[in-house]
Symmetry: C2
Subunit: 472 residues, 2 copies
């Protein structure tokens, strides 16, 4: 009996209501430029409290229109460059709809979504220049990918026995440039290595100083620690800088370290035009790369990848199949390899379809151009900043990140206060979204442009708005 399921009792009505909602969603996407971030009203959380009884489908859809959709996070707007937040794609709608209706668990078994995920991983592997031995697993994002890659690095270093024995009695040390993203610290904490065993290597010319690195490794060995992991950065969080991956790979090889690259956004210069593509030269020599598609490949949240040079290393860290998860030769339980053997998750939604839809519909070349344009826009922002009296760059942008202070003629503390005030006022007025970060003693305005909707005009308007607030 139909009333014994949770499916709609009236499919026609359900269809009409869902169609209307789709139309509204497309309107919103089409008009993204008119919809900046806005502060949520008082009491919104209470208004979301789950009610005791069911409502009419149409009423809930109305609430989506009035109480939910308006309070997006802002990152779909063309003048949003805060933190590193992708701007979303039209293809996400179809991809998400199909993923919802298929409702595939991509942890394993034999069904299409797993084959699609493998195809998207293989495309990424090729773009990153990794050999055919490489494999990976889609995850929420770089933080997850980082922790899982580190777990693989530990197993590679200490052997599979460490899975059973635990990391007791052996201090492992890791290395990364000062300013490495916090995901590296959190990953080391989660797996029990400890963030105190992360050595922060000073920068030289904006890159991890390899000479200092070697000295630190030698010191740690002398003190009985076992160096196991070197983390390179493709696109530093503050300034969008890149380590010299060839130099890091040489040290990693000589010292038997696992080379991991935090490529959350920056790995994607691999498909940009020059001069940006060269920034990530040598990334193909990494043992693992953590990267997000929801940043600089623009797809909707969440969608990241842990890509490992030798898929077996990931498998050695995670594979475990009790009898109730046994694979079979035929039927639903066939279809090896299963993704649950390559990471933490046994239950996994279909993230790869967002990337597949985007690349198949929009095409790799358009992504290459958009990524390149974002870097050019950071350069254009730098020009506009330099044309304004009193403003100054933290440094010349190398990729898609432009950091500057609105007024150099102030003590550091006052500059910081001014920059923070400007950021907040631009956010609240809906004019533009910069985030802030500290460079030296000054908290500065920061734009990380991973936004395919941004034009030169948007950049110019935003810098002028900063100037107006700075002189007000």
């Amino acid at each position: 009996m139909s009333d014994q399921t949770l499916d709609p009792q009236d499919w026609d009505r359900f269809r009409a209501e869902t169609r209307d909602l789709l139309d509204h969603c497309i309107d919103l996407m089409q008009n993204a430029g008119e919809r900046p971030w806005q502060h949520v009203p008082e009491g919104l959380e209470d208004s979301y409290a789950i009610g005791q009884t069911a409502a009419q489908g149409a009423d809930v859809m109305d609430r989506l229109r009035t109480d939910v959709l308006p309070y997006h996070a802002g990152n779909t707007h063309p003048k949003y460059w805060g933190w590193v937040q992708g701007s979303g794609l039209s293809t996400d709608i179809a991809a998400s709809m199909v993923a919802a209706v298929m409702n595939s668990n991509c942890g394993g078994r034999n069904h299409g979504a797993n084959y699609m995920e493998r195809a998207v991983i293989d495309w990424t592997r090729q773009k990153m220049g990794m050999p055919e031995s490489a494999f990976g697993v889609f995850v929420t994002g770089t933080s997850q990918a980082t922790a899982q890659a580190f777990a693989a690095a530990r197993v590679k270093t200490l052997g599979k026995e460490v899975r059973e024995a635990g990391q007791v009695g052996q201090r492992l040390t890791a290395y990364a440039a000062a300013g490495v993203h916090n995901a590296t610290k959190k990953g080391l904490e989660l797996i029990g290595v400890g963030s105190g065993n992360l050595r922060l290597v000073p920068l030289k010319d904006g890159r991890l100083d390899v000479t200092a690195l070697k000295e630190m490794i030698a010191e740690d060995r002398a003190q009985g620690a076992l160096p196991f992991l070197l983390v390179g950065t493709a696109g530093s969080v503050d300034l969008g800088l890149y380590d010299d991956f060839h130099a890091l790979a040489d040290v990693a090889a000589a010292e038997s370290l696992w080379l991991h690259v935090d490529g959350a956004f920056g790995a994607w210069t691999r498909i940009a035009k020059e001069p940006y593509r060269s920034l990530s030269d040598g990334i193909e020599r990494a043992d693992s790369i953590a990267m997000d598609f929801h940043k600089w490949m623009y797809v909707s949240y969440d969608c990241g990848l842990c890509l490992v040079r030798d898929g077996e290393d990931l498998r050695n860290a995670f594979a475990a199949r009790p009898v109730y998860l046994d694979g079979k030769e035929r039927g639903v339980a066939s279809g090896e390899p299963w993704f649950c053997d390559y990471g933490v998750d046994l239950s996994r939604g279909n993230r790869a379809i967002k990337v597949w839809m985007a690349l198949e519909t929009i095409g790799e070349e358009a992504f290459s151009e958009a990524i390149t344009r974002n870097c050019d826009l950071a350069g254009f922002m730098a020009q506009e900043v330099q044309a304004q009296a009193g403003m100054a760059l933290a440094c010349d942008p190398v990729s898609n990140v432009c950091v500057f202070t609105a007024q150099t003629d102030l003590p550091a503390e006052a500059q910081s206060a001014l920059n923070v005030r400007i950021a907040v006022e631009l956010q609240e007025s809906g004019e533009a979204v910069f985030s802030t970060t500290k460079i030296g003693d000054v908290e500065m305005l920061r734009a990380a442009i991973v936004n395919h909707r941004t034009t030169n005009a948007h950049i110019r308007e935003a810098v002028q708005a900063v100037a107006a607030l700075a002189s007000a």
Copy 2:
């Protein structure tokens, strides 16, 4: 210029194509009963390979119809009871569409999706009977929730210093009933405690034997280990059994252990009718519960929750905010607490909206009835099995899991081979999906009914199909 974005150049065409796809998706959902799992054709993975150039939107949508949607994982079909895989809800379509268009990063900042997630967590907290101090974080699923809860347990035991120091020099031990889900082992491996430090406690009357547990704890203390974690099971993977949570909570309190409950599916008997609700009595005393909404709350993959009795314990394990993630009083960067401080993920999509849409549209009472009905159906399956000559139950179902062998009049090995063959043949014919698991020496057929589309008739047909194959 519009051609400088990745948005559609022709929004009207995009709208028409996406509408058509929506109609097709709704057709498929409406006809879920006609669409069992089917084997993917040879070469499907190659057909998914990312092309060099963009295609027409309509062509890609056609490929979704012909090459993607048909090869779902089977779990939307009313006769799918393999593993523990939810069947999906109509409300997932609107929820996923809205989440895609909003494209919110729920790691932090001030926007609606975070408030919605808090509201859904609060609803769950109330249903689980936890105090207002409880908080949590949506994750992919129970495997993630388990690892993160364990990390919180370690920090609670060893202090926040362990985050920096790493777990060096202190052997921690954990306890769970024999047959605990593999997620517990993998979680202990990931965080570096080591699965060898998980002590498997024998069962007594289907529940963790508390007397044996106490002895093991004493032994481990005597050997210098530090017992820190007790894992209870709400709904065991093999048979759907429940530990005695009051007894476990008493031991945990006396021994200063963190009590975690694996409630992947079984936690949801909390909202079922009696006699099933009582199965999870005492779950409110847990320090943490890992649970999935994509299993027995039926929403689409992936959607799990790590719920912790004292939210501060989770925060102590994960909070870390460098200056570029500083919260502000006003603007986009306000809105504390941020979910990134309560787990691994900094980039997080909006999972809670699937639960919100489902509960607001369908209503809690309908879920309560569906969950209750699933348990009743397991009981009905048991009756049908017992009515068949030669078939036998592994045990009387207590919740939604029914495990049986198709023919007792065979040696164990031959029984196993027969059961596996029957499972595969029913899967391949599209008749029904059972998985298999080993009970004692025999690999048996197993149905875990988390499917709101299943009726008594489906159960009867499936058991008769098993009987026909067993006697063939």
